[in-house]
Amino acid sequence: MSEERSHSDPLSEATDRALMQRLQAGDRTAFDALFRQYVSKVFRQASHFLGNPAEAEEVVQEVFVTVYEKASTFRGEAAFTTWLYRLTANAALSRLRRRKRSREVAMEDYLPKFQPDGHHLVVRPIVDWSADVETRLAEAQMQQFLRQAIELLPPVDRAVLVLSDFEDLSNKDIGETLGLTVSAVKSRLHRARLFLRGQLAAALEPSATPERT
């Protein structure tokens, strides 16, 4: 497996652009080189979105077929990786949207609750489980719990979370990738994180119910 290059590296961008020019000229070895270079990253990004390797594999195929078929549309104005990761995000998001959601969970049940005067609605004593997460996350069961919680997010919220917290994209780049305003990105990201916090609270607080914060 080849080493992944940073997508902000100017040398990498120049290499990618040269490979795309060769591909546009009909050189299929350039396609192989691009595939080898980025297949891991595309697979991982698709796995973050979809949560299962079989579907991630299908996205990899779909994305690289598109790279080949649409090579002529790549003008090199943005980095190749920006284009590639956008193709991946949109292919994965499209699958998420088509999926039948097997478990419907009311997001509101896991969001913080407030009293009419704006104070937290909590059951006393409030539990600070922040110090327990690292230890518990070492358990495979806990990692699986968090992955499943991510899968419960609505598709676009999940896409925003993945691009922010796994792919480390800026809110502006996430907005451009998903066709959202920065304000909408922030709102969805915050809601997704609050939901996951609520899920973790329900798992880590001994007597927690979803209704408490």
């Binding site: 192989d32 697979f43 195929q61 549309t73 704006g118 600070d128 914060t213």
Partner: protein, 88 residues
């Protein structure tokens, strides 16, 4: 919020500010108001710690990498798929 901002915030308002707070995107004035609230509200201080920890936990989740044999198989499949068609 107004240019000079409020002098205090409720827990609900504080919670809404957390995303921008942890990335340092709040104005200095609003940051001060929020930090004053966090300094005297145990619920919000705990909420912030667990919110931060949730983000950290999410970021450290590990997903399987693509096995080398699958890479090879996928490339072969793709080469067959695109075999007859030149890049457009």
């Amino acid at each position: 919020m107004a240019e000079h901002g409020p002098e205090r915030v409720t827990c609900e308002q504080a919670t809404a500010l957390l995303l921008d707070y942890i990335t340092g995107e709040l104005s200095e004035a609003i940051t001060q108001v929020l930090e004053r609230h966090l300094g005297c509200c145990v619920d919000c201080a705990v909420f912030l710690r667990t919110y931060r920890e949730t983000i950290r936990a999410t970021r450290t989740l590990q997903y399987e990498d693509i096995p080398a044999e699958l890479q090879n198989r996928l490339l072969e499949t793709l080469q067959t798929k695109i075999g007859g068609a030149p890049p457009q």
